[in-house]
């Protein structure tokens, strides 16, 4: 499992550039599913058929990750950029990014124009790829890059970039591996472009036309010094979403998850996230509406290059999903 997580998080595929991660996941799930396809926007969908039921259930995790895109190359070869997804400038300075052609860059800051202790704005930052002029810069406008930060494991804590949402992808792959018999048709959706627009899950859900959809994604925690209050702690179990910035989970889906956790004695927490949302928000509004919920893996420092999850939450998340599938 840790080896799988390492390969997933260390793959670089910011939104709109999911080819590499898709190939990796496709190779993992191909032997485990009855069939698979790539949807028009690039989401990977693998499914297991049931002989007993014609209900369709979606489990969705997004393959894309936040990153940056070059917007301008100045005469000295410094690269200006914008975020792909929600980038915080505070965590950019000193970070490294890697472009698809292998070029590594260091994010620097206009020292004089960033005054005092205020956070820099995006246009006060630049990427130094070691170029000396516009002409020898190996990066062009429109090129995307991912943050660089390999996986570190420390006790049960797993730390890396792109836990959001490769850890969800890992949960889906492992659930698929452990699922002998599907009680319903189960569609495993590895979606694209969640961080920018939720477009991948929305369009794949339209095609599948499911009876229920569950997103598996990360959520914030409320257990770090002076953070915003939130009743989710790292290592206290997977979180069952009640509500976030984009959706209210369908009560039946929420209760199904709670019941499944109770029956199988899996620790869980209830999640109310004040900002941000997941693929579930988009899937809920597809066609005539889809009962949707979200299983969240608690994660500290979301959208920084060092996102931290607890392995026990991940393992319990897989157990909970399997229990839900049995029950649902």
């Amino acid at each position: 499992m840790r080896a799988l997580i390492r390969r997933l998080v260390e793959t670089n595929s910011p939104s709109g550039n999911e080819e590499t991660i898709r190939a990796l996941i496709q190779a993992e799930i191909e032997p485990l599913v009855d069939d698979l396809r790539i949807d028009p926007l690039g989401s990977l969908v693998g499914w297991k058929k049931s002989t007993k039921s014609d209900k369709r259930i979606i489990l969705a995790a997004h393959m894309d990750e936040i990153g940056i895109m070059a917007t301008y190359i100045d005469e000295k070869g410094y690269v200006r950029f914008t975020g792909i997804g929600g980038i915080r400038t505070l965590t950019c300075v000193g970070s490294r990014v890697i472009f698809a052609n292998g070029t590594t860059g260091v994010i620097g800051m206009e020292e004089k124009s960033v005054r005092g202790r205020s956070a820099p704005s995006m246009n006060q930052l630049f990427i130094d790829v070691g170029a000396t002029s516009n002409d020898d810069c190996p990066v062009g406008v429109g090129d995307a890059a991912a943050f660089v930060r390999p996986l570190v494991t420390q006790g049960t804590r797993l730390i890396s970039k792109a836990m959001d949402d490769r850890i969800g992808c890992a949960v889906l792959i492992e659930t698929l591996r452990q699922l002998d018999q599907a009680p319903h048709d189960v569609y495993f959706v590895f979606s694209v472009q969640e961080e920018t627009s939720l477009s991948g899950a929305r369009t794949s859900a339209y095609t599948i036309d499911p009876d229920m959809a569950i997103a598996v994604d990360v959520t914030d925690t409320g257990d770090t010094p002076e953070c915003y209050p939130m009743a989710v702690n790292l290592g206290h179990g997977p979180a069952i979403k009640v509500q976030d910035g984009g959706m209210i989970a369908h009560p039946a889906v929420r209760e199904l998850m709670i019941e499944s956790a109770k029956k199988t004695s899996i620790p869980y927490q209830l999640e109310i996230l004040t900002g941000g949302t997941t693929d579930a928000a988009a899937m809920q509004l597809v066609r005539a509406g889809v009962p949707a919920g979200c299983l969240s893996i608690p994660c500290r420092y979301v959208h920084t290059p060092s996102e931290m999850v607890d392995e026990n939450d991940v393992l319990n998340g897989i157990r909970l999903l399997l229990a839900v599938l049995k029950q649902g």
Partner: protein, 346 residues
Amino acid sequence: MILKALSEARGVSGDEQEVRAIIRDAIRDVVDEAKTDTIGNLLAVKHGTGRDRLRVMISAHMDEVGLMITGHSSDGLLEVRSVGGLDPRVLPGSLWDVGPDRLPGVIGIKPIHLLENGESEKVADIENLYVDIGATGKNEAQKLVPIGTTGTFATRFREMGPTVSGKAFDDRAGCAVLVELLRAVAPVTCDIHAAFTVQEEVGLRGAHVAAYAVEPECAFALEGTIADDLPKNKKGTSPTTELGKGPAITVMDRSFMADRRLLALVRDTANELKIPYQIKQPGVGGTDSGAIHMSREGVPSITLSVPCRYIHSPVALLNLSDFANTVRLLQESIMCLSRDTLRREQ
């Protein structure tokens, strides 16, 4: 030149019929079908020659930013609100055509002699601006201009050497490119579904339903986009696009991520034929592609634009060679487009 007629036509979001009529006439003889849908989009089809024909949607929006009359003051001035992203900095002193009969109006401004300390540094809110049509009282104003009437900038199209100026190049430039494409292109292998959409400036609403109806397999949105190639105070600032450097290709904006296969198609086509092009500053603006790509099962999409200075203001500038190169790049790309373009390596 169709751009002149389109630029001078009135077409504030929701009130696009004048633009639609011009386009309908212009494409009548070169398309196989044309209809206006329930929301007001003009949807035309040019059938292809192949057997298993790819459905390609090409959209350009007919609407423009402008004003809506929301009330009348006791003095006979017109109270207004903006439709779409109208910049309040450009309103004082501007000339307007109000309503279908193009009643002349102006947004006035207090003479410089009467300004109090600091007043010249403030931008007036649109709530405090009025269109003056010279009416002598509330009754006359009400009779001439009912509430709900729209107003457009009263800007004439002008030729300035290789450059032209006019209002509403966002997105009449795109409409003109699409009209020129339909006129120029011989039937290609794919079916071309031309969508002249409404209400883009207020939330991509026309494209939303157009894409649902057309069910395309891939889509191109055409735009007149920001060119900010002006003297800058701050170093390291992108001009977004530049006049004279060719059509602008969008990789990512606030509304969508361009499909990488279509990006490769357009870039390869441009490189092969030595058509100049530029990559638009990523992360800025949004287009009909934002709605189209999320339609139904998902639609791989891309946006091509003619660079225009000063969009969303009374007057914009574009370079005619950029315009011609946009038509050419689009046409050549469409001619190379097939199902193979969209094939993924599995």
